[in-house]
Every structure is written in C-alpha cells, then in structure tokens.
C-alpha cells in the first residue's frame, strides 16, 4: 500500500503534472468543416436534441421545458454573454470553451472574476443533458437551477445577486425580442434556466467510432487495438463497472460518487507540498523550483473534500461523481482538479491501483496491465470521440460573444 502511494505521488508530481514537455499544443476544434449560418443554426440544434443519436438514449427533456429553436437561440446568447458577470469579463463560455471541447485545455482548475481561483476543473458540457446530479460533487440536480451558483459565486461570475442578473437582462434591449420569442414574457429566473437548459441539451453528441461498431454493427468502425481495449475496459480492467455501457446505449457513467483515492491524495499533497516542483519555462525547458519560492507567490488553496461538502456525511469524504467518458480526447486535462494532463497519466493512476488508501473503492486496485494493454485501452477511449464536434462549435460561434 505504501509503495502504491509512493508510486502514485511520484506519478503525480514530477512528470504528469507538468505535462509532455515540448510537445506541440493541440489544435482547437475548428468550425470550418461545418458550414452554418446565423439564421438557421438553431433548427439543426433543435433537431439534434430531439432525435436519438447512435449510442445515446433520448435526451431527457423536462416535461415543463420542451426545447424550441427560440429557447436554444436565447440560451446560446446567455451562455456566451460576458456582460452577465459583475465586471463584464466572464461568461459561461469563458470556462466552457467550444473550441476546447466546451471545457478548458489551458487550465487545470478554472479562473473566475478578478482571477479568483476555483478549486476544480471546468468539465465539458457536451452531453451534460444526460447528467444528474450536476457538478463534480453533485450539488445541483438540474440544468434549470444549476446556473444560479456560477452567476453569483464570488470566484466565478460574482454577480451581487441573481435578481440583479434578471434585472440586468430586462434592461438589455437586445434580449427583449429573444425572451418574447421564447416565452412571450420578459426575463425571469425560471426562463433563464429553461433557455440555458434547452441550449445545453442541444450539445448532445453520440455517433463515435465505438457507437458505429458496438450499436451500429459496423465491424470496420473500430480498429483492432480499440476492440482489444474494449475487451479490457469491460473485462480485466473493469472500468465499465462505473463507466457503464448498456446494451442499447452508453453514457459511460453510473451517475454515482466514488472514492478512487485520488481526491485524498491531492488533498494530502496540498497540505504537505513536496520540496520542489517542476516548472516548464519554455518548450523543452523545465526547472525544479524550490517550493518555498512558489509559496512566496501563492495564496492559500481551498481544501476539497468532494461529495462530503454537499452531504456532510463522513462516508462521502473524497468522493467525486463518475465522469462520462465520451469525447474525453477533447477535454483534457483530467480528474476533478485537472492535475493529470494525458489519458496515459489517468490510465497509469488506475493501473497502479489508485492512491492505495485503505478506504478507497475496492474496485480500485493494482491492475497489472501491460504497456500494450494500456495502449489498447487508450485506443478504445480515443474511439469515443463523436462526429459533429465541429457543428457544435459552428453553432456556438454563430454570433460573437456579447460585450459592452
């Protein structure tokens, strides 16, 4: 156990956290391959959110919030509007960046108004319509209510109150026709939530190579390595016991909370930092920096106890929700705090048995997978990338972000 912990720490500290030195940065997802226009994009988005896609169940639209083009158009505008933060600098999309898989490739943990720190990684909102509850700690059950917290959180968009946001929207002339079209009524808390919900449920994509192979019966859709990876994923590695694959669809999550050992490992590192830390100062140039120097320019970081912060049940310490794995190739970095840069780092963490804490989920144990087997699983995970990401970006960018 001790050795496993040491290995995990070693894995996290010098190599994984600073990433692949000198590697070329990934290219953002381009919208160029999906021609769209300012007027008609929402009908495609609506159709997508109403039509079951290969490998996915139907989108669970709430009975009192059926999607419409008008709601989707309004929701998109709200999602990208930088005016909806106290000092006009943050929108939802500043952390959930379309070209970066509606996540943020450039930050392990998110940054809010005035540069304030958020302790967790901004998760992708692609396929968020299937998730309940929401957030890494599951603190909100629905998209219709979830949006309030980021709008008023001091370290996110920092509005003084949610009523202030409603009043602000009713004062912006460009919103009036959109609320009228969607609801025949002015902005209200409920209507903002419904519009944001409708837009985000349109960010739904199945139809990956895996879907075409597993559910579509196309034998050629998945290469041999990925097929071997699938066998390991559902067999020896047992990933699928949490990242579920059903007979007719797969969300790759059980929507439950688990202690993989990772959360506690990270919290222990926060409280007991290492003597030095590798810092990349230029491509291929890394210095081991004395941690005291880093501390001299560091504000205290918040502790993160995971699900416990919602339930205050001792058994929920260090638990985080199982993330879905679709499109994870475009949502690095990984884990709830973004400290793992590559899929290889994540697989290595699980292969050595997680952090080796005594209380961690029993399914996290040393897997003894060979490098070839790890590569096969990675090939499988890379086959979970959907067709149509370009169109999500094109629709998102059908209008420029709103600024004063």
């Amino acid at each position: 156990m001790i050795r496993a912990l040491a290995t995990a720490l070693a894995l996290l500290a010098p190599v994984a956290m600073a990433g692949e030195y000198g590697a070329a940065l990934p290219a953002p997802i381009s919208a160029e391959t999906c021609p769209t226009d300012r007027e008609s994009w929402a009908s495609a988005a609506l159709e997508r959110s109403l039509t079951p896609q290969p490998g996915l169940p139907p989108v669970p639209h709430p009975a009192d919030n059926p999607p419409t083009e008008a709601k989707i158009e309004l929701g998109r505008k709200l999602f990208f509007d930088r005016r909806l933060s106290i000092n006009r600098t943050m929108s939802c999309a500043m952390c959930h960046v379309p070209e970066q898989g509606f996540a943020n490739w450039e930050l392990a943990t998110a940054i809010g108004v005035e540069g304030r720190s958020i302790k967790r990684n901004a998760p992708s909102v692609i396929n968020v319509g299937f998730l309940t509850p929401l957030f890494h700690d599951g603190r909100d059950p629905a998209l219709e209510t979830q949006f309030v917290a980021p709008l008023v959180a001091r370290n996110e968009m920092a509005n003084p109150s949610i009523g202030h946001v409603v009043a602000e929207l009713n004062g912006l002339p460009d919103y009036r026709p959109l609320f009228d079209a969607a609801f025949a009524a002015p902005a209200s808390l409920d209507r903002i939530g419904q519009a944001l919900g409708a837009y985000q449920r349109s960010l739904t994509l199945g139809n990956s190579a895996f879907d075409r192979w597993y559910y579509g019966g196309d034998e050629t859709a998945l290469n041999a390595a990925a097929q071997r990876g699938f066998a390991l994923f559902t067999g020896k590695a047992d990933c699928a016991s949490c990242h579920l694959i059903e007979t007719d669809q797969a969300l790759f999550t059980d929507q439950q909370f688990h202690d993989t050992g990772y959360g506690r490992l990270r919290e222990e590192r926060r409280q007991n930092p290492p003597a030095t830390h590798p810092v990349q100062v230029a491509p291929g140039v890394v210095h081991q920096v004395d941690f005291s120097r880093i501390l001299s320019v560091s504000a205290p970081r918040e502790a993160d106890l995971g699900r416990y912060e919602v339930t205050e049940e001792p058994e929920d310490r260090w638990k985080f929700r199982t993330p879905g794995l679709r499109n994870l190739a475009v949502t690095a970095p990984y884990m709830h705090d973004g400290a793992l840069t590559t899929l290889g780092d994540v697989l290595e963490f699980y292969n050595i048995g997680g952090a080796g804490h005594p209380d961690q989920d029993a399914r996290i144990h040393p897997l003894n997978l060979s490098p070839t087997e790890l590569a096969d699983i990675e090939a499988f995970l890379l086959a979970l990338t959907s067709d149509g990401l370009d169109c999500l970006v094109a629709e998102a960018r059908s209008h420029p972000p709103d600024n004063f």
Binding site: A16, M17, V97, E106, E114, S296, V297, A299
Partner: protein, 436 residues
C-alpha cells in the same frame, strides 16, 4: 529660392536625427513624443486598488519630484477611477497632453488630461467598449503613440481568455480605428517564421524604429494566466504551456507582419536605442531569464539571438521591466522574484555584461530613469495575483540617485501605508512641456 533653403535645412535636421523639441525624459517612450529635457517634475503612478484598503479602487497617483518643493517626495494628487481593472501600463498621446492607461482585466481605458494642470491629472475620457470595438481583443496593455493615433497591444481575447490577440489602433480622440491580429501558424498573414519559430499569436509590448520602418511586438500570456494566482499557475502544467515564445517584426507603415522570431519564455519589454545608427532592440524573457537582441545584420536582415543570462535562469528570477540609458550604453533590468535591479553594459549590444546589482526590496517590477540617467525610480507591483503574498508584498515607489557606481536611495513612498494599493507603471510629467 525658398525651396532650396528649406531643403537644406530639412536635410540637416534629418541627418542630425534630432527629435522635434529637444525635451527629454525617461528613455522608453515613443520617439514621436515631446520629451522632458531636464528635471522631471511629477511622476504619475498607475496604481491597482486592493480589496479592504482605502477606497479599493484603481487610481492615478501623482508624486511631486520638483527640487525645493515643500511636497517633494509626497503624494500630491490621486484620482480614483472605479473598480479594480487590473491597472497595468499606460502611455502618453504623441502630443503628450493625455495619458492613456489600461485595465488588463476589465478592458477599460482611462485617458487622463495631464496638460491642463500637470500636478493634478484629471480623468478626461473612459473607453468602455474596447473588446466590442476591436472585435474581441482583451487586455489593453502597451499604449504606443503614433502621429494622430494610439497603438494598443492586447494580451488576450474574448473567445477563450487565452493568449491569441491583436494590436488595436484608436485615434487621438479615443475613437476606434483598426484591429491587427497577431500572425499565427495557421494564419501567417504573409509573415515568415524564422528558423524553428512557431507563430503563437500572442502579444505584449510594442516599439518602433521609424527610420527603418520596423515595428516589433513581443508575447506574454492570456487573461487566464495573468489574472490567476502566480503560485497556482506555476503548479499548473497546462497553464505553463501557454506563454508566448515569439517576437514579431512588422512593417510599421502598413501594419503588416513580416517575420516571426523564436524567442522562448515570454519576451516582454522591447527597447530600441536612440543612436542614429543603432539598428537593434533589446528584450528580456520573463520565464527563461535571458537578454535578447533583435538586430539588423550586415545583409540588412533582422535577426534575434540571446546575448546574456539575467541572474541564474534556473532560479526563475523573472526579469520584468527594463530601461535603456539615453546614451545607449547601459540597460537597467529588474527581476521580480529576487527584488533586484541589475545594470548591464550594452556598449557592444552583441556582448552585454552585468556591471552592477542591488536589491531594491522583496519584490520589484518597473524601472524608469531620467534622461541624464542620474535619477532612477522603481515601483513594486507586477500583477494583482502575481505579487508576493503576506510580508513580502511590499508596495512602493522608490527614488534613487545614480552616480555611475552606486544607487543611493533618495526617498520612498509606501503605497500600502498610504492606503493606495499596488504601484505599477511610472510616467513623468512636467509643466515645461506646455507653454500656454
């Protein structure tokens, strides 16, 4: 005949290379601008508001530098602008009547009237629409005066708060004119990448050598990084990959990029010398701690090369502001982490070497010197969330005399004790500039 007289006079003037009106002052301004010859009378300090301190707002602080004045070395004026905007850099308009200052966070630009009463600048105009005007540029940084307009470098953008950005031009009335996006590997705009340079599209500083029609820009990082806690960023492997590694050479007249140089590790300030035959510029890289020379070679091609280390790069001293002497012989280089200023002999620009160093305080950022080089001023703040924490977070303006051998402190103003905030860029003022 008049024409020939004019021609002779003009030729003599151009040959002498003397700027219009032989004023002179701190040496890092736009060459288009009138300068203070003798004694600077005031220093304007663009200051970041701090939560829980004073009125918490960003402000332009004026300190009296007039010899013999009863208030010399004291704050004699302070204008609060509302909010914390990440006050950072500023620059005078080409006629030096207005001081443009930027907020890197909120993208607001505050234009102060410094000519009506140079001892008490007044807020003349606020531009609130920079992001919308420019088509998505975030983080107005350097304000570089051109005849009739102000060229502003951006640091980020409103799509992702990353480092891809642009130059933005406004006219002297504060109306938007044009946006010039930095070249990127996927859209070089006709520019050529030199050697293994990869155009990253990042921005920071801008300077020009008019005689050569050369404009240079450097590259820092996007909003997410410059706004976040410095210590957190150093531990964020993803964030540390998002720093600029380029200097771009532009055609000043056409505003078109020509060459992209590989200058790894966030090249920041750019300084051209004043000499009429000096065809080079210096820059320092913040993360890799090197002094770089951007120069025209014998074949007339511009090149970039590292010419010296600044301290021990492995310690990440973080060189920040630099100031070149009017005679082009020496260069002050501040480094933030060790709080030091270093003086480099740059008489041979290809072989600079350090000749002096002194710890100014626990942190130091900006440096400005008088035209004669005898007075050197330092200020403390780098960025609100990059400044040191706790006891090390000292905030000041310090004035020194330089006798060629030693910096001797003249006076210091403690910006925290006075409830002002974090002291950033310093610019000099003088009533002698305005005769009416």
């Amino acid at each position: 005949m008049k024409r020939r007289e004019f021609g002779l006079l003009a030729a003599a003037a151009v040959a002498a290379g003397s700027p219009f009106r032989a004023f002179a002052d701190e040496t890092c301004q736009s060459p288009y601008m009138p300068k203070i010859t003798g004694q600077e009378e005031f220093v304007y300090v663009w200051t970041l508001g701090v939560e829980g301190m004073g009125d918490e707002q960003d402000k332009l602080v004026t300190i009296d530098l007039r010899p013999g004045s009863d208030t010399r070395g004291q704050v004699i004026n302070s204008v609060s602008v509302g909010g914390r905007n990440e006050a950072h850099h500023g620059g005078f308009s080409a006629d030096r009547r207005y001081f443009w200052t930027g907020g890197l966070d909120t993208n607001r630009i505050f234009i102060f009237d410094v000519h009506s009463d140079p001892s008490a600048p007044k807020l003349h105009k606020t531009i609130d629409t920079f992001v919308k005007d420019s088509g998505g540029v975030v983080g107005p940084h350097t304000f570089f005066a051109l005849p009739g307009s102000m060229m502003i470098t951006g640091l980020s953008n409103d799509d992702d708060h990353g480092g891809r950005t642009a130059l933005v031009e406004y006219n002297d009335d504060g109306d938007y004119v044009a946006t010039y996006w930095m070249p990127t590997a996927s859209d070089m705009q006709g520019a050529v990448a030199v050697g293994d340079a990869v155009a990253d599209g990042y921005g920071y500083d801008i300077r020009a050598l008019i005689r050569k029609n050369v404009m240079l820009t450097s590259s820092f990082t996007g909003w997410s990084n410059y706004m976040m806690d410095f210590g957190q960023m150093l531990q964020d492997g993803e964030a540390m990959k998002r720093f600029g590694n380029t200097i771009v050479q532009w055609d000043l007249h056409t505003r078109q990029p020509k060459k992209v140089f590989n200058v790894p590790g966030a090249p920041l300030e750019i300084r051209f010398p004043w000499g009429s035959n000096a065809n080079y510029a210096f820059s320092t890289t913040a993360l890799t701690s090197q002094l770089w020379l951007i120069y025209e070679d014998d074949a007339g091609e511009w090149q970039a090369k590292a010419v010296a280390d600044i301290g021990n790069p492995a310690d990440i001293p973080l060189p920040v502001d630099i100031s070149i002497a009017a005679d082009d012989q020496t260069l002050w280089i501040n480094s933030f982490m060790d709080g030091k200023t270093r003086l480099f002999d740059i008489s041979d620009p290809h072989k600079p070497f350090q000749i002096y160093e002194k710890v100014i305080d626990r942190q130091v950022n900006m440096v400005s010197q008088s035209w004669d080089g005898k007075r050197v001023y330092f200020s403390s703040s780098l960025l609100a969330n990059w400044d040191k924490k706790g006891e090390d977070d000292v905030q000041y303006l310090k004035a020194y005399n330089w006798d060629g051998k030693e910096l001797v402190e003249d006076f210091a103003v403690d910006f925290y004790e006075l409830g002002l905030g974090r002291a950033h860029i310093m610019r000099f003022g003088s009533s002698a500039l305005y005769s009416s």
